[in-house]
Symmetry: C2
Subunit: 330 residues, 2 copies
């Protein structure tokens, strides 16, 4: 049996609430008492029972994080940012994955609320009615991450429409005119679809109404990219640029180009999205939009913790922006 607060208290010759205070508000115990308590903790080998504490205080230092996928580097970086901040402040990250299924999201949230979570991080602004209803009645802070807009509570992300527009404006400025957009399962990856919307806006603003889209079934992203290049080259010989939904696909295309004898950017320009390291290592270097992934995680965690601690959080919606990184591929 693990020793309890009472065991420590007996050993230290104080009451259990004093030991509890030693942990929860150390400033409220006298130096002499602190020393006694510390010695007792050491002696009996006490480990805090977080479960009991959470039950009594009706709040646990647990923060569920709900992401759609773990196969995607994007979310890994976000989780890293979140984890770093949470760990530094004594909070635990509880990981949930929806596989892009909104019903699954509802189910996960239900379960997580049963953990008396101190807050919640959830991906995206699109939710079930059920989820929305649960969360609206929940009075702990929530951060919706990745994109921007009218949300449930706090919101940290970037503007995907603007990112898509920025890239296409860049391509137009370089003189490309027949620009295809290539993605993988855009109905699922609706943030990529938002970038495609921005892409269309930029084309329309330049008087180009036709915005051809190649939406492939996702298998392995780099493979899809290679396939997209091949298919577009074969079917649309006058296409002069491909705006990919992400760097994996774009790099897959660049690497395939060498094998296919396609010159980049002379025969066709390639653009990506995310700013992954690999983009800097392919030849030519990939033109991409650097998304602030880890930063989103970090900022989301900070805002959430601030709200939990009753500190000011500033703007409810926080735009972390993006950077266009121009390589040789466009």
């Amino acid at each position: 049996m693990q020793p309890t607060l009472n065991d420590v208290a007996r050993e230290a010759g104080v009451s259990s609430i004093t030991v509890s205070r030693y942990f929860n508000s150390p400033d409220s115990v006298r130096e002499a008492t602190r020393v006694k308590v510390e010695a007792a903790i050491e002696k009996v080998g006490y480990v805090r029972n977080m479960i009991a504490g959470s039950l009594a205080s009706a709040s646990s230092r647990v923060i569920p994080v709900i992401v759609p996928s773990l196969s995607n580097v994007v979310f890994i970086d976000v989780i890293k940012g979140l984890q770093d901040e949470f760990e530094a402040h004594g909070y635990q990250l509880l990981l949930g994955k929806t596989d892009y299924d909104l019903a699954r999201e509802t189910q996960l949230i239900r379960t997580f609320l049963g953990w008396s979570a101190a807050g919640l991080v959830v991906t995206g602004l699109r939710h079930d009615d059920a989820t929305r209803q649960i969360l609206e009645n929940w009075n702990q802070p929530i951060v919706e991450i990745m994109e921007l807009g009218e949300g449930l509570d706090l919101n940290v992300g970037m503007d995907h429409v603007a990112a898509g527009r920025a890239m296409t404006e860049h391509l137009l400025a370089r003189g490309y005119r027949t620009i295809h957009f290539a993605g993988a399962e855009l109905d699922r990856d609706y943030r990529a679809a938002m970038r495609y919307a921005g892409h269309r806006e930029a084309l329309a603003a330049a008087g180009i109404e036709d915005a051809p889209l190649l939406d492939l079934p996702v298998r392995q992203q780099m493979t899809s990219g290679a396939q997209a290049l091949e298919r577009i080259k074969a079917t649309f010989p006058d296409c002069d640029a491909i705006h990919f939904a992400n760097d994996d696909m774009a790099c897959g295309a660049i690497l395939a180009a060498a094998r296919l004898g396609v010159r980049i950017p002379d025969d066709i320009a390639i653009a990506g999205f995310n700013g992954l390291p690999i983009g800097e290592h392919v030849t030519p270097r990939l033109t991409t939009i650097v998304s602030p992934r880890e930063q989103i995680g970090r900022m989301a965690a900070r805002k959430l913790l601030a709200r939990i601690n009753g500190e000011p959080v500033g703007e409810l919606s926080h735009d972390l922006g993006f950077t266009l990184r121009v390589g040789g591929s466009t």
Copy 2:
């Protein structure tokens, strides 16, 4: 205030323990009762309080997973495997990261034990004395993952020495004789150091006593790989193969080779480790060892869950092996 079991019980006209049984051993409540309880749950909008349940039963459906890093794809794949299995069985994954610091590991484990965890997944077989002592006195199942050997309890992984040996044997079989090993911070990444040990064994078996090592400080893995190639090419012109500690470095080198005018494998052969997708997209394709990352996670979870449920787990130590994937780079 959230509704409790009592609210459901009152609504259904049964006692609270019956509702508890509805959740924990559904087979022990009558069909008619089940229907009443379900209706009541729906009506009051009940959400289980896992905290209270865990306190009362002295065990929570939480499994802490301790990894050294989240920057490394390897662990992401492992986490994915674990997460999938846990989620399917109603267990929650609590994520901890040590940054390769054994003292941090001890601290994390201490905290996690306070969660009355049902089990524990921890990376590697090397631990603090403090960690070892805590875990030896803990009577819940533990899985140590990634490598093989004499462990605390269960163990799922692969033989890194054998993997290093296998790759170098392949290189020797191809006729390469002056083979350098290149890694990044091998003291920290001691599993890579084990592969280097296997590499040395293979060389020694072939009568080659000299096993040159380039151990770079880690920055970005692909960059380190490129740098390693450049440095070895400049300093050791007779080196005919580089055995890299991982695929990121190896691919960094392959991609840099094109820029540096180094022909692979004619001027120099390149080998990696992990079997990441990118290795299949570079030209020439990377020769590498495919590590069973997601499988390790999956199997670790299965064994742990089996042990938790009192089912047979089979062998304590489970070797998931590896595959040599030969590409054009060697």
